[in-house]
């Protein structure tokens, strides 16, 4: 007897109780299964080709040396061994981690504060929300091109504005020490709105009574934020932390358009280095191995996030 406790009974199930499946029911079940798979076949096919096969092929590639111009040569784990000895590889890890470690917490913290401020019942709220989100919908390429101009050492707006507080002209994108911070600023600027929107949604789930009770007890806004908002927002913060981290390790567009990995590899992040290796040096096997390392890093970071992060999350 097939009583499925997990899902609610449908009309089809009713007909099978106490009787086992009749031929009609069996045929109906078959049509249902067939149609179901038919409906999900287009995404499934694409998934198989550009997901499964693609990744599998990438693994295979990583064990070979191939530059398209010459035949493929099997080299086993040599690509990986070479990678571990490659200073550019380690540099890319270092530089990308630097980016993530700064950009992610800043974007989350700012996002939380701004969402908290925006959550009040003020008339211009929708307008503010809109303006904060605008950088998110534009492309990294166009935004990067504009910021590159803003960062221009001679005529850029940023140096001009900073001259009012007495700061001398800086070479934002040309100085190895300033290049990555400059990219981080652009990244925070661009992604802030997304975090704000998600936080705003999370804030909806915090009952006003908590704040009212706290206000009665004499807590000021800062205290309310620290002891009510932050803990109760932690599920949202957790989610955003994961999403932001994954996204930070994938950074590519801003580097391509603003620095191309320079100066002196100061911004040669993992994705860009892979791109340069594959389409610049034409070392596809090596690039494939590198890609896998990136994949594992993101995978492990996400697992770690779940492991350690979830404990801190306070569910209501």
């Amino acid at each position: 007897m097939m009583l499925k406790a997990k899902t609610p009974m449908t009309l089809e199930d009713r007909g099978t109780l106490n009787r086992g499946m009749s031929a009609v029911a069996k045929r109906q079940r078959f049509i249902e299964t067939f149609t179901g798979w038919l409906y999900i076949s287009p995404p499934t096919i694409l998934f198989l080709v550009f997901g499964v096969f693609s990744l599998g092929f990438s693994i295979f590639l990583s064990f070979n040396r191939w530059s398209i111009l010459r035949p493929m040569k099997f080299v086993g784990l040599e690509n990986y061994a070479y990678l571990l000895r490659d200073p550019i590889f380690w540099n890319s890890l270092k530089v990308t981690s630097y980016f993530a470690v700064v950009a992610v917490p800043v974007t989350i913290a700012l996002g939380m504060v701004i969402a908290f401020l925006l959550n009040r019942d003020i008339k211009a709220r929708a307008f503010y929300r809109l303006m904060v989100y605008l950088p998110v919908v534009t492309s990294m390429i166009s935004v990067g091109i504009v910021w590159r101009m803003l960062y221009d050492p001679e005529v850029g707006l940023l140096n001009y504005l900073l001259s009012f507080v007495g700061m001398p002209k800086q070479n934002w994108l040309g100085d190895p020490k300033l290049a990555m911070p400059s990219l981080i600023v652009v990244s925070v600027w661009k992604d802030l709105g997304f975090n704000v929107i998600i936080f705003l949604a999370g804030l909806q789930g915090i009952s006003r009574t908590y704040y009212d009770a706290a206000a009665i007890d004499g807590a000021n806004i800062l205290r309310q934020f620290r002891h009510i908002t932050v803990p109760l927002l932690s599920p949202t913060t957790f989610l955003l932390f994961i999403l932001n981290t994954i996204s930070a390790f994938r950074v590519f567009g801003s580097v391509f358009v603003m620095t191309k990995g320079e100066p002196l590899h100061a911004t040669n992040v993992i994705s860009y280095a892979i791109y340069a290796t594959a389409f610049g040096d034409l070392q596809f096997g090596y690039a494939a191995a590198w890609s896998w390392v990136l994949f594992f890093i993101i995978f492990i970071l996400t697992m770690l996030n779940f492991r350690f992060g979830e404990r801190k999350v306070h569910y209501q």
């Binding site: 798979w37 409906y39 550009f50 997901g51 990744l55 990438s58 009040r120």
Partner: protein, 273 residues
């Protein structure tokens, strides 16, 4: 009153913030309207002496912009259609049908959203090359013809359509496909609209895929187009900003018109995640 004072603070902070957030866009447009010489004066001028449209004309002629836009629109239209059509079918199957492996496949699809696209750079290129699709519309359209995010959004919505409706239709002898077309789709217009929006925006802003899969000028899309433009005219800021404005303005305009839809879509998916 405390609330009023706090609200004032909020307004001030917000206005400062928004000035900061939107300054780059203002500067982009302002520069695009300046005579090229004006761009290189220091201290920089906030507004052009006399706004000119020459930069736009020069940018338009310097590279085949019309072609870039045409390509992008073709790809966008195709992908939007694919996302909606295949998305509705798949989402319906996941939401309303019961078949072996349904749950597994759905979570499998969700997990692909976590895979960085950058990992697919290399094998994707080689697969496309093996198919002979390099530099064709097929390469730009087919790999992205379905979209897991669209399936996710649609499924969320379909789940909220009461089962009674499905049962009633079945009793009346309505076939599955007909049910989808004649009942589900009309009910889902807002979500479908959101899907179309996201698809259009994502395609217009798409960079990495087109960068890798196309190399001839006639097949470029707008994002690759302005990236190349910058390579050629790195310091012609006025023309560069004109080109960038042309590529960014459509996005901003579309967004301003439908922002509520957009933000609701993101919020919904964020909550469910």
């Amino acid at each position: 009153m405390r609330t009023r004072r706090l609200n004032l603070v909020v307004h001030i902070v917000m206005i400062l913030l928004l000035l900061g957030m939107n300054l780059p866009f203002f500067w982009m447009v302002s520069t695009s309207l300046k005579a090229p010489k004006e761009v290189f004066t220091y201290p920089p001028k906030w507004f052009p002496e006399t706004p000119i449209l020459e930069n736009y004309i020069n940018a338009w002629n310097a590279v085949p912009f019309a072609r870039y836009i045409f390509n992008t629109l073709v790809v966008a239209l195709a992908k939007m259609s694919g996302h909606v059509f295949f998305g509705i079918l798949a989402a319906y199957a996941f939401a309303k049908m019961r078949f072996r492996g349904a749950k597994f496949m759905f979570y499998l699809f969700l997990s692909t959203m976590m895979i960085p696209g950058e990992v697919n750079m290399v094998p994707g290129f080689i697969i496309i090359r093996a198919f002979g699709w390099i530099d064709t519309y097929r390469a730009l359209i087919i790999p992205g013809l379905t979209d897991v995010f669209a399936i996710f959004l649609l499924r969320q919505f379909f789940l909220s359509i009461p089962r009674d409706l499905d049962d009633a239709a079945k009793i009346d002898g309505c076939g599955r496909f007909r049910y989808v077309v004649q009942v589900i789709v009309p009910l889902s217009k807002p979500v479908i609209f959101t899907v179309i929006l996201f698809s259009f925006l994502a395609t217009w802003n798409d960079f990495l895929g087109p960068l890798i899969y196309t190399n001839s000028e006639s097949m470029r899309v707008v994002q690759v187009g302005i990236a190349v433009f910058q390579t050629k005219f790195a310091y012609d800021y006025a023309e560069l900003m004109a080109a960038t404005t042309m590529v960014t303005l459509p996005v901003i305009i579309v967004f301003l018109f439908v922002q509520r839809h957009f933000i609701e879509g993101i919020t919904m998916s964020g909550m469910k995640a």
